[in-house]
Symmetry: C2
């Protein structure tokens, strides 16, 4: 059995690197804080005799030797970067639970058939460099190495430059090593497990997601003398769009339709000026690709209707699409068996959030394990998972990893 | 008759002070640019033999002597400050048309019975120091001198400090001189005159306006794993509110109901985060005070409904209320007679925008004169009024002023 207390203590030690004011963590990708977190993990792993390799986009592979080093390894892991004022568990748990699994094997003198690789994927959150999961995406061939290295943060610093500054510009080819399987433990970031008093989510796949940048271009004018029927109010059109999309998503009895407008900005906003131009983002998600197509069509129709109703020109661009992912049945079953064997209440479920496992699943048999987080809150300093749930998740990860590494 | 070309040339000369990139003017209240504009006007007036007095909130009174200097003067004027990237006519026209009237009287050697005062009110736009029309409001007793001097801009500079820096901290008591009448020429800032091919608006009053600061406080959460029915989306609630208020205003067949949401900000906005907190402003206007009460009640009901529908707490504060104003019938009639005599198409109308005349009307018989502006556009660099309309407006102002100053 893994040591839940040791896991908790490494989680709390890591959280002290880049602490944020209200008890969260603030370690944006490839900042000094993120680099310090990575170095701490490397130190811990090297104490266990693991060897480090770093690929050209800064993904870390910490290898624990197996009996058959000619076989492809089993990967476990997640990410160490956080959202601005983010939580202490999102990503970090998946990495440190892997460390705890290695320590447990050491405690019991266990050597697996296949080697093991503890993986830390670069810039999962996408907060510093967009999009999210860009380095696991590069590993899986979804993005070219050059395009990834050239992505810029808000200050114009490229990901490649940030790698060089922090000392994490490795020389291993991206896509190496090939993995015989990948398992990622993560907090759910939603309320389903908690609501159903279940301790483990056996994650069967990830819903599809599409991101849009929308511009509504009307005409700014004076809020007093401009009659309503003369206005070309870009915010009124945006409000119509958002309200209709909310109504559509809320009316889906299955609850699978998800629509979010997370950013909205009025150009040269002033209290007594009818908004002339609005920029907003739309995030559409669904567990079914066909339904996601229909949702995108609905979004385009509602945008056209709002444009028409308020005399506002619109421009919409799809900037990211991540298709619905189904994980590998062998890996899913291994996770489910582990949960069953440990006698914990669990459910099979889809992930609502994107994770590095989304891209890794394109090149290796993959599955994920979820544990509940308090009130379903994540991307927030208040994010919390109990020591008991963290330990249970690490145990299931360790069990499933052992099963996959010995077959 | 006034000299339309001379008026146009002084308008264009003033517009060169604080020019903004696309042909507008950028002279925020009590900045170096505003001060330079004021100095130019003072120079022009002193050439005519006018005497300058400045009150404690920086209002300028440029006096042209009358035959009976024991009588209260007739005031004309408006403001010289502009919106950020504002137009060349808003406010400026009313001041420079007054100057043109003085020059015309000089040309013809006319001395009026009552003295005349060309008035430049400080900080009409409210862009630098909120609220709008604060210095004419202080003159009329709506705000105390101390509170006005203590109002701060975004950098924390007080209006009093800005007066001292620019050299416009006068020593005349605020409220002096008492005016026997006040006439303000302004561009309409809306499309009514242009649409109806009318050259002059005889302004009978100003619609009532109320400003609200609204906070919607929900719960930020992850856009992926958070089911729609769990969300407390502050932006969804804001969109519902805006859409319902727009619908309500657009459904008013009289067109008198006006609702604007001009500013909206999401706290810690991120593409994949359900907005947890939104701040927005609401501007409600109506020509009838009772209807404005009903509109405010409707706003409160829609806010409560949106709050209820999306599980979002709301806080709304009324930060400014300017009641419906009816101008003085004697002054209105003088303006109408002037328009009639000059044989120009005109209409009696209410003003949709607030103006210094709103507050001055509390302490002196007041009316306003509007001229059309192209496409009804104002608070915008593209703002434009034709030389012909400017000249006509100045003529009507001069005629009505003469009538009032000689009775
Ligand atoms: N786990 C996570 O927050 N990933 C970012 C991508 C997403 O928005 O789902
Ligand atoms: N004329 C003008 O823009 N005044 C500001 C007050 C208002 O919003 O009406």
């Amino acid at each position: 059995s893994i040591d839940g207390q040791r896991l908790w203590s490494s989680l709390m030690t890591m959280a002290e690197i880049g602490p944020s004011p209200n008890g969260g963590s603030h370690r944006l990708a490839l900042t000094a804080e993120d680099a310090a977190g990575r170095r701490l993990l490397i130190e811990w792993c090297q104490t266990l005799g693991c060897t480090l390799r770093v690929d050209r986009v800064g993904n870390l592979f910490l290898r624990r030797a197996g009996k058959r080093d000619d076989l492809d390894p089993i990967g476990i892991g997640s990410h160490l970067d956080t959202q601005p004022k983010g939580g202490r568990f999102d990503g970090v748990l998946g990495v440190l639970a892997g460390l705890e699994a290695f320590r447990t094997l050491d405690d019991h003198g266990i050597v697996t058939e296949r080697p093991l690789e503890l993986v830390v994927w670069t810039n999962e959150e996408g907060s510093r460099f967009a999009p999210a999961m860009v380095a696991s995406g590069t590993y899986a061939g979804a993005f070219s190495v050059e395009s990834t290295l050239a992505r810029r943060d808000r200050d114009g610093v490229t990901l490649g430059e940030a790698l060089a500054v922090t000392g994490f510009a490795g020389d291993m080819a991206v896509g190496e090593p090939r993995l015989a399987g990948f398992l990622e433990l993560h907090i759910e970031q939603g309320p389903i497990l908690e609501e159903n008093h279940e301790a483990i989510g056996v994650v069967t796949g990830v819903q599809g997601m599409r991101w849009f940048d929308v511009i509504l271009h009307g005409q700014s004018s004076h809020a007093g003398p401009t009659p309503m029927r003369y206005r070309r109010d870009a915010l009124a059109a945006a409000a119509r769009l958002i309200d209709r999309l909310q109504g559509h998503a809320l009316a889906d009895p299955s609850g699978d339709t998800k629509v979010t407008c997370g950013t909205l900005e009025i150009d040269a906003a002033s209290r007594n000026v009818v908004p002339g131009e609005v920029h907003l983002s739309i995030d559409l998600r669904h567990v079914d690709e066909g339904e996601l197509d229909a949702l995108e069509a609905r979004f385009e129709r509602e945008l056209a209707a709002a444009s028409e109703a308020f005399g506002v020109a619109t421009h919409s661009e799809r900037i990211w699409a991540s298709p619905v992912v189904s994980f590998d049945s062998g890996c899913i079953d291994a996770v489910e068996r582990a949960a069953k064997t440990r006698g914990v209440p669990y459910r099979r479920m889809m992930s609502g959030a994107g994770h590095d496992a989304v891209y890794v699943a394109r090149v290796a048999p993959t599955a994920m394990i979820f544990i509940p987080c308090r009130d379903g809150i994540s991307h927030n300093e208040a994010e919390y998972a109990s020591p008991e749930h963290c330990a249970l998740g690490a145990q299931v990860l360790c069990d499933a990893m052992l099963e996959r590494a010995n077959t």
